[in-house]
């Protein structure tokens, strides 16, 4: 026998289910209960940076939009600073910058969008800079454990990004890169399965 190694085990995930909006965005479920719903403003009006809108669809393996997907976004400010005590520069984060948002689809079309400011590059591991990116987390009915991915920008230099560089098949890197479709507008479609399957991250 050896000594016990008394770590706890992470609670198992269970699907967020079709009614996730009741808990996380009751207005979308059809009722008003809280003084304020959380995650509606990633970057307040005074936050410096390029104002952008990101929109897209999440597709299932049959190519149909996942109309009940819920996304959460987490990003740094325009200087690459996270509003979190463990970011060494967090004291300099832009006032009014929350960095986190909750994104609901249009239930009829599955289309989602959110407004924010474009993040700056963030220092990565071993002092390698990471290209500007937004971390995304997806949950819905049929997804047993939330899916993590990242969104990069096609008008930034992504060539030295250490995370994109880990994707062995270069043609899959583009699944993480949003396309600029108009001034300040980016399109980012996510494919859960099948041709063009998005790269998901085990973070």
């Amino acid at each position: 026998m050896v000594q016990a190694l008394p770590y706890l085990k992470e609670s198992a995930s269970q699907t967020a289910g079709p009614y996730v909006h009741i808990g996380l965005a009751p207005g979308a479920a059809g009722f008003d209960i809280y003084r304020q719903e959380l995650g509606q403003t990633i970057a307040g009006p005074g936050v410096p940076g390029e104002r952008i809108r990101v929109e897209g669809l999440v597709y299932d393996g049959t190519g149909a939009p996942v109309k009940d997907i819920l996304l959460e976004a987490w990003q740094a400010d325009a200087n690459g600073i996270y509003p979190h005590p463990e970011d060494p520069r967090h004291g300099e984060v832009a006032p009014g910058f929350r960095g986190w948002g909750r994104i609901i689809t249009d239930f009829d079309s599955g289309l989602w969008s959110f407004e924010t400011i474009k993040p700056g590059p963030v220092p990565g591991r071993n002092k390698r800079m990471m290209a500007p990116h937004i971390s995304l987390w997806l949950v819905s009915r049929g997804i047993n454990i939330g899916l993590n991915t990242r969104m990069y920008f096609d008008d930034e230099d992504n060539s030295a990004d250490p995370v994109l560089g880990l994707i062995e098949k270069e043609n899959r890197r583009r699944t993480l890169i949003a396309q600029r479709t108009a001034a300040g507008v980016y399109r980012f479609d996510i494919r859960l399965q099948g041709e063009g399957e998005t790269v998901f991250l085990d973070v």
Partner: protein, 240 residues
């Protein structure tokens, strides 16, 4: 404290993406391998919340949507701690819950089950853990309800739970079940979890010590988020 990575998530303990007995997962499950990523600043940080974000009544589902009186059903307290895998409480973290009413009906525009909406029950609550990771809610025990998977599938009574922790890589949504419910063993969503011990960890025991005599019963539900390394040795997360 120096920034530190989280322990690798145990993917053999967590449900896989593809679980054919839960049919909706078939078309919504990635089939290619995930890219395993060592934590960077983007993963070890995450949103923070404070008491200005929520109101004290938000954790009382008996009162937070009451219009003409209290909701119908069995009054219960759900309480416990949010811990990490090192057994440490996770303070000041946001816990959000949602659930069906006592008849098994959700207040959601997409729910068409024939059981009635309760005019006094919204079905959602939220709270912040205290400095020791402790949280509590007061609510109504949810009812079981049928769902379209096989012809005659019923969900065991459950409460959905969403937790943040301190980092985006700790983000977790799960479901709490109730001790003694015979539907737990028959549920294809519960069965997406491969290890029976992991299922047991989602079943809240009746906690009579926490019940309020002549008022409400109580169930205890601890939630465990991923733990992280201690930083006895520099782990090169940022530099060098």
């Amino acid at each position: 404290m120096k920034p530190a990575e989280f322990y690798q998530r145990d993917r053999s303990w967590q449900p896989p993406a593809l679980t054919p007995d839960y049919k909706t997962s078939v078309g919504r499950s990635p089939r290619l391998a995930m890219l395993s990523l060592q934590g960077s600043m983007s993963e070890i940080t995450g949103p923070t919340f404070g008491h200005s974000d929520i109101d004290p009544i938000d954790n009382d589902l008996i009162k937070n949507y009451a219009k003409s009186g209290d909701p119908i059903g069995e009054r219960i307290i759900v309480h416990g701690r949010v811990l990490d895998e090192n057994g440490r409480g996770v303070p000041n973290t946001l816990v959000e819950i949602w659930q069906a009413n006592a008849g098994g009906r959700y207040r959601h525009k997409k729910d068409t089950y024939l059981a009635p909406i309760d005019p006094n029950f919204g079905g959602c609550g939220r709270t912040l853990t205290d400095e020791n990771g402790y949280y509590f809610f007061r609510t109504i025990k949810p009812g079981a309800y049928p769902w379209r998977n096989w012809v005659n599938n019923w969900r065991p009574a459950h409460i959905h739970v969403s937790v943040f922790g301190t980092a985006f890589s700790q983000r977790l949504i799960t479901q709490m079940y109730f001790e003694g419910d015979p539907l737990i063993a028959k549920c294809p969503i519960v069965a997406t979890i491969p290890d029976p011990r992991a299922i047991d960890q989602l079943i809240a025991p009746l906690d009579l010590n926490a019940a309020v005599p002549l008022d409400c019963l109580a169930y205890k539900f601890d939630i465990v988020l991923r733990g992280r390394r201690s930083t006895l040795f520099e782990n090169h997360l940022e530099g060098n």
